[in-house]
Symmetry: C3
C-alpha cells in the first residue's frame, strides 16, 4: 500500500510511517474542516461503501455493549443520518469545532491501517461562551482507495455517559 | 519556493507538501509560544511589513461584514496594538494558552501559500479554573522571506459573537 | 544520534529535524494514550532510571520556587507515585484525556534534546459534563536509549495556582 504511494522509490520504514502519519493527519484535518463548516453532504465521502461509523460511550465500548448514540453500517445509512442532521442543525444557532490531535498508528501492515486520535469538540451558541461537548478518541480502520485514504470503520468513543441532546450532527 | 528550501534535491510533490506542512506547524507553534509567554514585543515579527491581521467573528466573516475586534493593516499597526496589550495585560493576573491544531494547506502553488488551522484558546485566572475564551480557526496567507515563513495575512475567525472583554492581547 | 537513526543516508538538517519532531510527537501521543487508558503501570517506562518528573505551577517555575504538586527524582519514585495513583483512581469514576499539541524543539545538538509542547487535560466524571482540569506545557529533556526516545526530565508546568484535589494521577 505504501509501495503504491511511492512506487519508484522503496522507502525506509521510518520514512513511510512518517508519510502515512502525515496522510492520516490530513484526513483528520479535512474531516474536521468539513464538519466545522457544516458541509454535511460531504461527510459520507470520507467512508467506503461498506463501512461502520459509530459514536459510542467509552464505558459501552470497554464492556463490549452494543448501544451507540449513532450507528451506521453503510455509507447509505451515513447519508440518511446526515440529511436528518442537516434539517435539525439548520434550525439552531450553534457551531462546533473539532480538535483532533495525537494521531497514533496502531497497525500499518498489508491492507489494513488501524489508527487512533484524540478528539475534543467544543460548541459555541450565539450569545453564550464556548463549552466542551465531547472528549474522547477515534478508533479507525483506514483503507486506501484510488490513492486516497478513506474510513472502513470509524468509532468515536467518548468519555462520558452524557452527551448534549443537541448533538445530532456527525462528530 | 520549495525548490529554494532543498535546491540540490528536487523533491516529490508529496515530500515537499509534507515539509511545507511541517514548517507551517512550526510557525504556529512558535506563534503560540510567543503569545503564551506574553512576549508580545516579538509578535509583530511574525508578519511582513505590508500585512493584514484581523480577529473577526465567523458570522461577520461569512457575511463579508467589515467589523472586527482587532484590525491591523500593517506591521506598524500591529506594533501599536501590542504596546496597548502589554499595558493592559501587565495589570492582570491571567494567562492564556493556545492549542493550534489540524493545519491544512489550501494552496501552495507559486508565491502564495494559503492555509488554515483550528485554534482553541483557554484562559486561567489566578484562583479560578481554566476556561475557554476562544474557539475558531486561522485563515492565513503565508510568504517566505529569507527562508523563513511569515504571515502576509492572518485572520483569526472565532465561533461566537461574544468574546471576553478582557481579550485585548493579540490571539 | 540522528545518524544512528538513518545510518546509510546522511540526511539534510531539515529532514532530520522533521523526523525528530515526528518521533517526539509519537512519544507524546503514546504518553497520552497510556495515561488516558489508565495504564499507569506503563507510565514509568517513559523515563530513564535517573530522571526528574515534576508537576509545577507556572508561577513557581518562573520564580524558581521549589514547590511542586508532584516531584519525582528517579524512576523508582515515579513507580511509587503510580501505585498510589492507581489505588485512588480505581475508586473514582472519572476519566482524563490529554491533548498534547504544538511540539517545538528547543535544542537538538549532541546528546540532549530539549523540547516543549502545549498540554490541555480535560476530565469527565460520570453524569457530568467534561471540564478542563489543566492547561500548560511540558518542558522536556529527552534522550535516545536503544533507539527509543525517553524522558530524562519532564516538567509539566501548568497555568494556575489551583488544581483539582482529585488530580493524583500523573499527567
Amino acid at each position: 500500500m505504501l509501495a503504491e504511494a511511492q512506487p519508484q522509490a522503496p522507502v525506509a520504514p521510518m520514512a513511510s510511517l512518517q508519510e502515512l502519519h502525515f496522510e492520516i493527519e490530513q484526513l483528520n484535518s479535512e474531516y474536521a474542516r468539513v464538519l466545522d463548516n457544516e458541509r454535511f453532504e460531504e461527510f459520507p465521502e470520507f467512508f467506503v461503501e461498506d463501512c461502520l461509523y459509530r459514536v459510542v460511550p467509552r464505558e459501552n465500548h470497554l464492556l463490549g455493549l452494543p448501544i451507540a448514540v449513532i450507528h451506521c453500517e453503510s455509507k447509505g445509512m451515513i447519508k440518511d443520518r446526515v440529511y436528518a442532521a442537516r434539517e435539525s442543525t439548520m434550525a439552531e444557532l450553534r457551531t462546533l469545532r473539532h480538535f483532533i490531535t495525537n494521531v497514533r498508528i496502531l497497525e500499518a501492515r498489508g491492507e489494513a491501517i488501524r489508527a487512533e486520535a484524540n478528539v475534543l469538540i467544543v460548541q459555541t451558541m450565539i450569545n453564550r461562551m464556548t463549552e466542551i461537548v465531547l472528549s474522547g478518541f477515534y478508533l479507525d480502520s483506514i483503507v486506501r482507495c484510488d490513492g486516497r485514504l478513506l474510513f472502513k470503520e470509524r468509532l468515536c468513543i467518548y468519555n462520558s455517559l452524557l452527551l448534549p441532546t443537541s448533538l445530532v450532527a456527525p462528530v
